[in-house]
Point group: D3
Chain length 162, copies 6
Amino acid sequence: MPQSAVFPGSFDPITLGHTDIVERASKIFDKVYVAIGQNTTKTTLFPFGKRMEIVSKVFVNIPGVEVLSYEGLTVEICRKLGAKYVVRGLRSGTDFDYERNIALMNSKLYPDIETVFFISNPDYAGISSTIVREIYKFGGDISNFVPDIVSDYIGKMDRAVY
Amino acid sequence: MPQSAVFPGSFDPITLGHTDIVERASKIFDKVYVAIGQNTTKTTLFPFGKRMEIVSKVFVNIPGVEVLSYEGLTVEICRKLGAKYVVRGLRSGTDFDYERNIALMNSKLYPDIETVFFISNPDYAGISSTIVREIYKFGGDISNFVPDIVSDYIGKMDRAVY
Amino acid sequence: MPQSAVFPGSFDPITLGHTDIVERASKIFDKVYVAIGQNTTKTTLFPFGKRMEIVSKVFVNIPGVEVLSYEGLTVEICRKLGAKYVVRGLRSGTDFDYERNIALMNSKLYPDIETVFFISNPDYAGISSTIVREIYKFGGDISNFVPDIVSDYIGKMDRAVY
Amino acid sequence: MPQSAVFPGSFDPITLGHTDIVERASKIFDKVYVAIGQNTTKTTLFPFGKRMEIVSKVFVNIPGVEVLSYEGLTVEICRKLGAKYVVRGLRSGTDFDYERNIALMNSKLYPDIETVFFISNPDYAGISSTIVREIYKFGGDISNFVPDIVSDYIGKMDRAVY
Amino acid sequence: MPQSAVFPGSFDPITLGHTDIVERASKIFDKVYVAIGQNTTKTTLFPFGKRMEIVSKVFVNIPGVEVLSYEGLTVEICRKLGAKYVVRGLRSGTDFDYERNIALMNSKLYPDIETVFFISNPDYAGISSTIVREIYKFGGDISNFVPDIVSDYIGKMDRAVY
Amino acid sequence: MPQSAVFPGSFDPITLGHTDIVERASKIFDKVYVAIGQNTTKTTLFPFGKRMEIVSKVFVNIPGVEVLSYEGLTVEICRKLGAKYVVRGLRSGTDFDYERNIALMNSKLYPDIETVFFISNPDYAGISSTIVREIYKFGGDISNFVPDIVSDYIGKMDRAVY
């Protein structure tokens, strides 16, 4: 029976840490859905449409990876997609303690769901979207932390908005 | 000499994790004050009056538990109540590292105060008010995470405000 | 392409925490090898032959699970079996910090290998073979922590050896 | 109803960290039993009889504290003493992750038992019996880490045994 | 070759934890730059000018310590100053997991930079600017947590702004 | 005033993680003493003489690094050498929690001593002497984890002793 998994996030922006986890997960699961949360109340660096566009381009050639957007709970998009797995990367014990709470609550909301963890690749150790945004806001070079397509897009962005 | 303890929080909303800790603490201490912080600058999901009403109902039949509101510092409400103990639940090492800072600063502000920790019940593992609020905002079912009285109240709430 | 995974351990004794992880892993992977390390220098509570016998019985009816013994490195048994995944359970951030070192060294020894983590079931929260052995040595009842077949075997054991 | 608690350990040797926790616990509980584990298989720095003698002297004048020895499981000595609480000190998140496993298994063995945690006093931050033993073995001065009575006893000990 | 280090922060307000780390770092490095981030988007308790004034006074007599402000990335101010080290204090494992991400990203942005960690002094255990601000907002006494000059300044402040 | 630091360990065997920390420390400190503990009670994989020989060769060309052996406490060798710093690498929050206890006890034994921490290089993430020994015992290839000189020495060793 084909197995599918969801990799949820806001991808604001997508990082090399994210792409690494998705590629590794796509070797286990028949289908990995990269699910971009369309949380209307949270202010983001990149507008939703742009995140959707960028993430879609990043994975366009990776077989078994599909990019989509969702509103609401992660467990609901899993249910709709028939996906029984949520995939997450872990950099540290602190990450685990945080993710564990979410995973346990998700499994109470939807007992069929299982969260599966991968270790973040040491080559991308320490990368987080939050820090990438900080670096970007202060005019730093984020090209070591994100896929090329993000860097290209940023080259065209009007940085003056900050 | 009767011993009393304070269990402080914003209870936005109160969870089964909270009620479990209070009930267990009430077996050690003669009196457990469930102290609802009336922090006027923080925006909450449930208005203060409603949190007060709900938490009061939750503990109405638990002997030795008293619900009250407070403004200001936890150590000040402890001093006023003559309570020498603060009670906290711990889910993880990360929780401990966070609570430790607060507890040590509290003991510098009021050397008589002692923070006592209980392990969060694994049955309610991972429950946090923050995640409960997220689930609620996205229309998810929070009834597995909160006392029945919260679920009942929420059934009557105008969810359209979100 | 069928995917297989190895769940390595000394299983001295196997616990309900172990069986839970294996059953959950067997839903993702076509084959889960429960690999019992035959480390001749470490003294164990249960002799190797008995651990092999017990673990084999525990999983006899779980489709896709195969029990075997190995000497030497976990990556070597993975290579021989053509298994690209190692499966581990995590109870805490401390567990993660420990397992991360092993997983990263394994991936240097055998770059094709990936370690995949599951959260330990809160129902079995805190169970470790080390503590089970302590309880057993002191004559405590371990039946809540191990599969029935372990309890049965222990009933017949000559406890006088301790 | 009077409440009693057990503070278990091997106290090899007792440290200022231990005495601090016991004194703080003795303000909450009517009775604190300092229970010295008589684990015959573990080699200790101080012989059991000496640990018993030293710990007894340390607490001789602390009202509500009683020193005793036990063999076997901590939950069994709790049961015999009618004590419903186990008291432990925590220095760090790692300590919590370790103690949590033991506490959860104890509560499965004896559901009436509750483990209560105190933060280790920062004045004694970092003190562990293990490190004290290392310092002692190498001829270092342990008087900052242990009650005076331990230092006195050690002055009379034949260090040549190492 | 003289070595210099940067101790970056918002110092809102500076605490005894900060001053302790700076003094200890100033014994290793020929020059320690206390760099106050002038982040225009973050709302602070103390206005930037006041933080600059207070921190300057705190270190006026410490040889080898220089206070300055900066906008933008920490690595950029390091580059401009020719400083190859960033200095940070650690209270806990959680602090480390957080600081590690930042340090690793900084070393990708500027490979010459090295982050060096000191253990927070147990005498000031648990002090954080965040909690100090909370205490201050609620009218608590922060004099145990900050240098005298901060307390003095606060005595003159119009607390009515909160 | 020239500053010197001690990097203590048993180096059984020395790893690339160790050499990386020593080289980075040697850029801050005028002198880094790599101090090999000659603990007679602990059984080691490599005999003391060999560890001394190998570590000496590893650092023979690194200016400012000196290799020596010591018996007894780390603070004592620091005192004798006039070194005021101990250098340690950190891979994780768990490492920090462990090292913190030792560092705080060392600073009580010798108040002039300061422990300074570096983040383990992600390229060598997860390397520990303990795991290297395990790999070696089982006949695995440790050349990715240790300096070439260790691999060379091992090629000549009689592995039959295991």
